[in-house]
Amino acid sequence: MTGFRFNLSYFAFLLHRLSGLALVCFLPFHFLVLGLGLEGEAALNQMLVFTEQPMVKFGEWVLVVLFSLHLLLGLRVLVIEWAPWPHHGGLRSGWVIIAGGLGLALGWLFLDGVLS
């Protein structure tokens, strides 16, 4: 039963849900890494060395993009649900494209800071 289903609004829902899922899976690891502060500077420095690996940096880039996407697509949901419904474009399809673009832009901004 596919076909008609994949309109832009549905795609936005999917992206929003999956980005949230990815972020929530990352969250415990994030909190545990922060908790290394309890074990002293040596433990933190060890973790920092680990995160210098390219694979980890790539993962961080993915997270930044997903984080931005989840925010922007969530903002879209709030607007759809609470802003006055316009004559056309109630589902704010344009927002999905903008969210994608902005997400990638923020990801680039992150990479720029990491690589320099």
Binding site: L23, L27, L34, L44, N45, V64, L78
Partner: protein, 117 residues
């Protein structure tokens, strides 16, 4: 309908935590961009994260909000995609709330230097 108002209240709670987190996510992204352009040793990081009580307030608030928001999102996935019965999904969500709250506060307070006994 015993659950009637629960669903509506959880929906509103999800939206409320989202709205409150909007500026926090932007703030956190800005922090990330700033941090990756700064010196990244444990000492210099801790110097920055322990520099202001406002950081404690900000990130504590952020943790509380995400500890509510994330399990509520998972609750929907559990019900709709995993087809878990609602009682089970509700229980798991609550447990996750406690876990995220605990781990999150511990993590934030570890880095911001709040004494944990």
């Amino acid at each position: 309908m015993p659950n009637a108002m629960l669903e509506m209240r959880l929906y509103l709670l999800q939206r409320l935590t989202a709205v409150l987190m909007l500026p926090m996510v932007i703030g956190h992204l800005a922090t990330i961009m700033y941090a990756t352009r700064s010196e990244l040793t444990a000492a210099s990081i801790l110097e920055r994260t322990q520099s202001s009580p406002w950081l404690v307030v900000f990130y504590t608030g952020f943790v509380v909000l995400v500890a509510i928001h994330a399990p509520l999102g998972l609750r929907k996935i559990m019900g709709e995609w995993l087809r878990l019965p609602s009682k089970l999904a509700n229980s798991i969500s609550f447990v996750l709330f406690i876990v995220f709250l605990g781990l999150g506060l511990r993590g934030v307070w570890a880095l911001t230097g709040v004494a944990i006994s």
